[in-house]
Symmetry: C2
Subunit: 297 residues, 2 copies
């Protein structure tokens, strides 16, 4: 299959749905809705929603039933970026080559736009109409999964440990692993699991896809750490080598570049193995796993 | 009935449940969980959860089924206070006589504690076990109601308009009404509605309780505006007259003190009328409505 064309097509589908689901910029309060839309449409690759739709496909589900949760996931991802960029956090002026939300709308609106995007995600998920093919219990389970992975034992927890370990003289693998599996890995795993649940997966397939999600979640972040060292500023849209300059907890920092690359490949292999019992409908998940360690941005 | 004793007893029940539901301070990341607990247990009166439980009682429901959502509501209320107090927002050093979250834990942790509390609210609500007396559709409807009232068309929207209208030379009643019904009123209305839904109310009773919730939500905020003028700093736990000093949009500012008091009493009357068809089990709701305009803090 042509992965590039597939990703582009799915990205367009997700963008169209996000545009439909998000409050319009001409609804009150204008500044808030403009700010929310500014960051959601700032050039994201929609990896998380695409993974959710692909997991739904892999178990033979109907992706239109997964689209609201897929967009909710992108809103949660976007809120986390807006808050991470704030002066009190990473203090970043640019993201993907564009001024960050607080540089355009001010800190107060940026904080509130993040809050509203996180809330909007739950509005969207809870509005899914249960039906014969989508029982209300499945919708609740998805909300449970996504909220857990986004909260203090998931993404936010990872962000706190990341922040607190920044610049520390000694970094250990356990800490880096905690940060990576929580800060980035949790939402990626939740995306795959939610897609499987919404696609009607049985528990065995859900377990296989959970393994897949965990493996690529960690591989994705290790690949990001490697890109930060090997990529050019133009390719990755931020200063190359910025992790090292900040004393960030990364895989290469604790186990070296070669070992990190090896670990990323092992994780991708593990992800591919977990899909052994799946037919061609899991091909996009297979190709995405391989792509994660090969991408240049 | 003895309202003071009732409120105290319910406050204790809610506090115990919050302690059970919140992540423990000895769970990683410690700083985050300590910060979340610091603000949740900073002396709130638990008005929103108490209203939710009282609405559940009023329709003959089982309050243990409403307790998770009641605590979720308090977490949402608390997150909004933490973010409101941030330097980029109201820049408050004290709340209820205690240092604000960011003064104790720093801005970054305060932002993330707010994020995590908002997320925790949805973790908690989605974990409610559906049963014969609580169908999953009702749980979803409550999540829908609460998220809607907390989001960009509810509380966050009200906060944005409040912030943007601060210090403006001309304030009109429509703007003040928008701010009050959204910033404070929305969560109070959602509390009452959620309690009714979780208590198994039919649509007619739900409609009556919605009217009740809307009326007391607005009355509560008008009473707050009046307290800011007439209360002492000691009573209200913040500087008296601070709204006027900041050029805040308030009822007294647009319609005068006497007219504001009259309006608050009218709203309480409306709330009491909406309960006409309810028996003695709605007495706490009746007494709370009356208390709202008489309280001194």
């Amino acid at each position: 299959m042509d992965l590039k064309a597939y990703l582009k097509e799915r990205c367009t589908l997700v963008d169209e749905a996000l545009d439909r689901f998000l409050p319009k910029a001409d609804e009150l309060p204008f500044s808030l809705h403009k700010s929310m839309r500014y960051s959601v449409f700032a050039g994201g690759k929609r990896i998380r929603p695409i993974l959710m739709l692909a997991a739904c496909d892999a178990v033979g589900g109907d992706i239109s039933l997964a689209m609201p949760a897929a967009c909710a996931m992108e809103m949660i991802h976007t809120y986390s970026l807006i808050h991470d960029d704030l002066p009190a956090m990473d203090d970043d002026d640019f993201r993907r080559g564009n001024p960050t939300n607080h540089k355009v709308f001010g800190e107060a609106i940026a904080i509130l736009a993040g809050d509203a995007l996180l809330t909007e995600a739950f509005i969207l998920m809870s509005r899914v109409e249960p039906s014969a093919s989508l029982p209300p219990e499945a919708v609740l389970r998805v909300i449970q999964e996504i909220s857990h992975c986004a909260g203090s034992h998931g993404m936010v927890g990872g962000q706190v440990v990341d922040m607190e370990s920044e610049g520390k003289a000694e970094m250990d693998l356990a800490t880096v692993q905690y940060i990576h599996t929580h800060k980035t890995g949790a939402l990626i795993k939740a995306s795959v699991k939610a897609g499987a649940i919404l696609g009607g997966a049985d528990e065995a397939r859900l377990a296989s896809l959970t393994t897949y999600g965990e493996a690529i979640g960690l591989a994705f972040q290790i690949a990001d750490d490697i890109l930060d060292i090997e990529g050019t500023t133009e390719e990755i849209g931020k200063d190359a080598g910025s992790d090292e300059a900040r004393g960030k907890a990364t895989y290469p920092a604790v186990m070296g570049l070669a070992e990190s690359k090896k670990r990323a490949v092992e994780l991708v292999d593990m992800a591919l193995e977990s899909l052994a019992g799946f037919d061609h409908r899991a091909d996009p998940l297979r190709d995405i796993a391989t792509y994660i360690v090969k991408r240049k941005s």
